[in-house]
């Protein structure tokens, strides 16, 4: 109360009330600064925390959506594997649903009409592991980025074309793509023709979050309706 009285007394003085013209004492300055620093520190730490929380929440929802969308679109296309509408005029490829599998890198090849032109297409999903698996995922340094690519081919009457289809990325910052295949009796299988169900499991990691990046796994079972 007394300091306050002095301070405001001086301020009034500065405003020309003529009561006093004395400056701040060192003690007053120090105490004032300390109070200011404490208040500012609290505000900033709070702001900083908020900022980090926000970034973390955004990164988390980002990775979740990323994984969910990819999983959903893979599941949707694989569920219809073997769908062959064969509209008049289509060059029908040999019948097949899932036609090829690979484990390293993980990839799956199947037939379905994914471009809705009523002719069967061939789709390949491949997991491209990061070259540098230890580095946190950062799109700025491609070696650290794991991804899932998708490519589509059409049947030209004799072969799938183009022979080396352009593969485009449908997900980045993916650390694993697990595909387990089951036959009609529920036993695991690696024979493409006997696959009736696929367990898809995708693990994504937060983008550009350095060592604090968390990973997120989502999996689903897909029954192949056309097998």
């Amino acid at each position: 109360m007394r300091y306050g009285a002095k301070v405001f007394g001086r301020l009034r003085g500065l405003n020309g009330s003529g009561m006093t013209n004395a400056g701040f004492s060192l003690v007053e300055m120090l105490i004032g600064s300390v109070v200011l620093i404490v208040v500012l520190a609290a505000v900033f730490s709070f702001l900083d925390m908020s900022q980090r929380d926000y970034a973390a929440a955004a990164a988390k929802s980002d990775v979740q959506q990323n994984v969910r969308v990819v999983l959903e679109s893979m599941a949707r296309e694989m569920r219809a594997a073997g769908y062959n509408p064969s509209k008049a005029g289509c060059l029908s490829p040999p019948a097949g649903a899932v036609t090829a599998l690979a484990t390293s890198p993980a990839s799956v090849t199947f037939q379905a009409d994914v471009d809705n032109n009523d002719c069967a297409d061939q789709v390949v999903y491949t997991f491209v592991a990061p070259t540098d698996a230890t580095a946190p995922c950062d799109p700025g340094s491609p070696a650290s980025v794991g991804k899932i690519t998708r490519s589509v081919q059409n049947w030209d009457g004799a072969a799938w074309t183009p022979a080396t289809p352009a593969a485009y990325e449908i997900a980045q910052c993916v650390t694993s793509l697990g595909m387990t295949y089951y036959d009609g009796s529920g036993a695991t299988t690696t024979t493409p023709a006997s696959i009736r169900q696929v367990k898809l499991s995708i693990t994504g990691v937060e983008n550009s979050r350095g060592s604090s990046a968390r990973s997120y796994n989502l999996s689903t079972d897909v029954s192949l309706r056309n097998s």
Binding site: A5, F8, V43, F46, E72, Y83
Partner: protein
Amino acid sequence: MNAVARMRSRSSSGQRRTADESGMVVVIALLVLTVLSLWGITLMGLSLSESQIGSNESDLKRAFFAAEAGIHEAMYRMRLVPATSTDEVDTACSTTADPLTVGKQGTPATTWADPNNSNFWYYNPPGCGAWDYSYEGAPATGDGNFFGGTNKANLDSAGRTFRSSGAAHATGGPLANANLTNGAAYTVTVAPVVGYVGGCWQYVDQFGAPLPGSSCVSVAGTPVYKVTSAGQAGSAKKTLSTMIQRMSFNPAPDGALTANTNVNVQSAAAVIDGRNHDCDGNNPSDDGALQYAATSSSGPTGIDINKPENLVCPGGTGDACKGTSSPFPDSIGALLLGYGPSPTPQQQAQIDAMNAYLESIKVPPAQAPTSAFKGIVYIDGNYAKPPDGSEGILIVHHRDPYGQNGCTNPGGCDVANLGNFNEGTFKGVIVADKINKINGNAQIIGSIFGFGSGADGVTVDDVTGTPTIKFSKCILDNLENIANVPFRVVSGTWHEQ
């Protein structure tokens, strides 16, 4: 003291200075509050959009599975026991409902009534507004309802097509899922798949090729139907479609008794009659529908009968009525469909579907029917006898895999036993691994198969009664009406629209 004077008096005292300090606190508090609110609003926006995404996704999933439920419900309802109907002549726009009529092109044949909800299926003749389906102009070859053309299919010659009644759904049908508890709903339409081939509309398969037996004049075979089911949940919609084909039973017996093993008939009175009887087992005819009365996979020598004259067939009696069974297929499904041991890929697809269906209706012996049944019964183990008056298909089958229960056959051992079947009449087809035994006054009208290849075989034995097996083509031809015929999903036709 008036207000102004009060303020002046306060401003000249310490209270005025205290008020200034409070002002700083308010400013800081407001700042902090603003920051907090901004932060909160942003986070709330983030979680709101996340929860919207989540709820959209859940709606889509519910709509998807509702649509799948619709397809299965259509398949279920279409295989209900056929009923007779005169609706074929009624071409008025339906405002109520009719039983679903699934006819063959040009010859409407069979009507499926829903025993629990007669308001399920609507039909619409041409000219009934949005439901109108008609053939328009001369289509391109191969064009049809499945091939993106403007030409739609009709279920019968009256030009009608059918869809499920939404109203019936809303008020709840016989199925638990007819009025889905999770707020999702579905609408189903069914149409036969037709194509314009050879200058006329015909039933075709999913590739546009005429079905076996199809021609411009009449259509044989089993039509393929396209089922489209639209599921809805919240604002989400999913439309699925697939083709289904009614499966047909067509077992091909070699004799009234067809055994994959030896036959031992010890009863002096037992009658095994390979002549063609009517559906009641009367009026035997020597029309040559079958050549033998009894066959064994090991040939005539595998049939031991102590009174040969009781073996009757178009060719006479006794040894002339003993024959060799055709090679047995490996599964009950293949046997019921009438396919041999080396099916084509198309046949194999049907066999797989049939076996999957049979698997789905299999019951343990404890749940075997104890009163007369009509339909398909599949018992996974021993069964004494079907109750008197039962009709349809009886399967008594259990396969132990190699190494289990002392099975030394690499392909597995078929061990379920039918017997002691000593009374009552059964109309239809019996398939049992072992039969030990048929005796008393048991009577079978139709055909019976000993499926297992083990040494135990088929025994017909009695000293007092007259066990009788009578072949009846009439019964075999009507199997589809006696037993509810399942549908199979035609592979390669399921898709999301």
